[in-house]
Symmetry: C2
Subunit: 515 residues, 2 copies
């Protein structure tokens, strides 16, 4: 078989069966090999950031990697900002980056660039295939690196001649590795700290946010009378009625300082030490209170779920000792459409089993608050702060969970970094409702100007203004085959969201916020 | 003053007076400093690839750098693919990349990444400001590096605390450096080779494509009975009636081999050795004929125009010995709208002084052929093969030359990498007509499948299909405030182009190609 086929077979037999692709000339043999590997599903995207963001969404929903197929250094470049988000989410992703034929690299042809140098900025593993006979081994190594644990970005550079060359090497198949068993000494150290009666916070994130892990975290915190928080931006959070109730650390550093004040022990499970998202003049960047001891329950490569289970048991927590969320959706809003009434509508209407892809920036705060008691759902955050993830991540989530409704919360500013995802929604019939929260400005940056006492800036403020021209998101959606409607009152947004959530397939609601 | 103001003052006093920006929190002091430096014009873009592509367009038209303003690693990541094109065009560009406050980097906040690592992949110069007192020096060094010669990418990383800190250091002002005088020995070696009577080709590119340089290249070639070619993808080519006639090397390697067959001396002036854009199984990647000696007339840092002038003089070329292009536009087409009739319409209607931003991929070949005898114009190519340049480059060109009509030739595939440029066209009232050549597929990749004898690929071919859904470029343009029309016949495209070329401001013509 050709190297190209060996690559696809290795991926597919290792469970990597979806490939978000934007191929070019150097990838034509890989594209042609799809006929020989029908279990590999290619998903065309019109821009590479859509491919990498979709792979992130796929990974968050399934726990398994998807592949991207990218065209040399420029294709990888365009994928990097969402790979940054995926890296911060510990999402497993396998990037396949086509390159010039190995013997052609020295020619410095126009598309030649430092692919490995680009890849290293986001990848835990970077490899270059040495030839067709090396293809399956290299692809297997990439999958293994991506699967971790923890999940990571692996980037495989595939010279065109490795794809078009023939090989008789056997095709590898890679199985996921189990995480390392938790370290009993760490668990005991944490138990002792929590049992001391001193003020303690259990901070969870990553793999600790799901299933038994989050339940055991709540049981352990309750048994020890410790406070439980999640990180501010979680890759996936299980929320809503019947799920474990977890408060979230706030965004701004002074708020985090207040939330953690007086804490003697800060226990990390799947989370890192909290730090300010940005530094501000005169505000701290590190947010752990003075005199607070930080204890790590499990390292990233360890089984944090097992560690939390052991901790809850060691603390004698009762089986049903987790704090569960009652079903208490807000009432439907009426009247003026603003972030608060929008959030209320979302909280009231969020369908059971929904997946929320959250890139709402300022509106995320009321949206999170209003959905605490909604029907059960999964909430996927922008983990790395790199805008342009919302719709791409929703694409991957929708294809990974075709039976579930996916809802994208988009700010009008952030929506414009990767609007091409709309086209893939239409092409794939993805069941994604995109709610574009249109305030006609980079509102978060206005907030930042206020925080920095720079509100006098006249010309600078014009750079935050998205009203001239206003983007018409209904027209934008229709231009790429997605039906859209506009809502300008709370009543209209309720009607629009009800319809969008009840119908299968993609749609856009332009939510025109007042003020 | 604050470091932020020192930065903007240094740029402005060095002639860098336009900044294509997509700022975030870490750049708020830079944004606020705009009021203190009114000579700096900020141009908001909704995605960073638009900013970097516009800076390239600005540089190609003016010969001077524009700045970009980007938000940390992810902002730079999104700008990289068009910076790759700018690098290949030897366009001077100064990237200003905001970073976390220096003391906050070690916190590994969510947006932290290896900015310098990213920057080095495209930049000739990368620097990080050491503090407010270092700001003007560092900015001056960046401008100096960008200006070359030759033009290059310089990336300055600006920690937030360097921007918000105060400084009393004087503001630097950087003047362009003159290129090094040509090397008389090289000129004499080339003269001797050309005068030998052996078959010779003079291959020009870069700075040799303009003004006296291209005229002297033609004079020298004619005097020596050598053949004159330009590189396949030129940063700027002066074309049309009354300009020097220069044939262009073809795209596919076998065509280049044919064009250069029998050449004994290949003389490079502002050009590199021709190589295949992509390697193909069984085809050569290096395209210089066996036994052909390659002579370089001037190194990139040398004055290639002076070298060509000296060469023409040494060969005794008459003053008026250049081959000029007669005015011979094609007649207006009628009937079926296909690449050939579209090209004919373009050739007939191209307005005097137009700037063409060419990202037409397959349609560029007939478009180039049909415009040889059109009114005089400048033609800007996609130099690095990284798609998404066409509209961004047109934005920069239009702002750099407000009195001239700018025309973007876009394929429907390539248009979708950076459609956000449309919004900046509307916001700035840029005089850009975007002609979207809609064939509903990645046609170039179909050609590549044919060349590689992979046309049986069934699933792979679906990845080249842009027809389900079709992008509606009229709706897309309107969604971002740009008027658009659709043309489906040669007559309609003539009417649409006539109107678009005669009116000021942005517009889009969706050119629906048959077949």
């Amino acid at each position: 078989m050709l190297g190209a086929e060996a690559l696809l077979r290795t991926l597919a037999s290792s469970g990597v069966t979806t490939c978000f692709a934007n191929p070019g000339t150097s990838e034509m043999h890989l594209v042609a090999a799809l006929d020989a590997v029908p279990s590999m599903r290619p998903v065309l995207t019109l821009a590479e950031g859509v491919a990498s963001g979709a792979a992130d969404g796929w990974a968050r929903v399934t726990g398994r990697p998807a592949a991207t197929l990218l065209h040399l250094g420029p294709g990888l470049s365009n994928a990097l900002s969402n790979l940054h988000n995926a890296k911060r989410a510990q999402s497993p992703v396998v990037n396949i980056v086509g390159d010039h034929a190995s013997y052609h690299r020295a020619s410095d042809a126009p598309l030649t660039s430092d692919i490995a140098g680009l890849a290293f900025t986001v990848s835990a593993w970077v490899g270059c295939v040495a030839g067709a006979d090396d293809m399956s081994r290299a692809a297997g190594a990439a999958v293994r690196a991506a699967m971790g644990p923890p999940g990571a970005i692996a980037t495989l550079i595939v010279p065109a001649d490795a794809a078009w060359g023939a090989t008789t090497q056997p095709v590898e198949s890679v199985a996921p590795s189990a995480p390392r068993a938790p370290n009993a000494h760490r668990v005991e150290a944490v138990r002792r700290a929590l049992a001391s009666g001193a003020s303690a916070v259990l901070l969870i994130g990553g793999a600790a946010m799901r299933g038994s892990a989050v339940r055991d975290a709540s049981r352990a915190a309750n048994a020890a009378k410790a406070r439980l928080f999640s990180t501010t931006f979680t890759a996936v959070a299980e929320r809503g009625a019947g799920r474990v109730l977890v408060n979230r650390l706030p965004y701004f550093p002074e708020q985090v300082v207040e939330a953690l004040a007086g804490t003697r022990y800060l226990v990390l499970a799947g989370a890192s030490v909290p730090v300010a998202f940005f530094a501000y003049p005169g505000l701290p960047g590190a947010l752990v209170p003075e005199g607070c001891e930080v204890l790590t329950l499990a390292e990233p490569e360890e089984d944090v779920a097992a560690a939390l289970g052991a901790l809850a048991a060691a603390l004698g927590a009762p089986e049903n000792g987790a704090t569960m969320t009652p079903h208490a959706p807000p009432p439907l809003p009426t009247g003026r459409l603003d972030p608060s009434s929008f959030a209320q509508a979302l909280g009231a209407l969020l369908p059971e089993g929904a997946i929320v892809s959250d890139e709402a920036v300022t509106t995320r705060f009321p949206a999170l608050a209003a959905t605490v008691g909604s029907a059960s759902h999964d909430w996927l955050c922008l983990t790395g702060g790199s805008l342009g993830l919302g719709m791409p991540m929703a694409l991957g989530a929708a294809l990974a969970a075709p039976g579930r409704p996916v809802i994208t919360l988009e700010a009008d500013g952030s929506a414009m970094y990767a609007p091409q995802a709309l086209w893939s929604f239409a092409r794939e019939g993805a069941n994604v409702t995109t709610l574009v929260l249109k305030n006609r400005r980079y509102r978060i940056l206005e907030v930042e100007l206020e925080r920095l006492q720079l509100t006098d800036a006249r010309r600078g403020r014009e750079l935050l203004n998205l009203s001239a021209p206003e983007v018409d998101f209904v027209a934008l959606a229709r231009s790429m085959g997605v039906p859209g409607v506009r809502a300008t009152t709370a009543e209209e947004v309720v009607v629009a969201m009800r319809r969008a959530f009840s119908e299968n397939g993609p749609s856009v609601v332009e939510v025109v916020l007042e003020g």
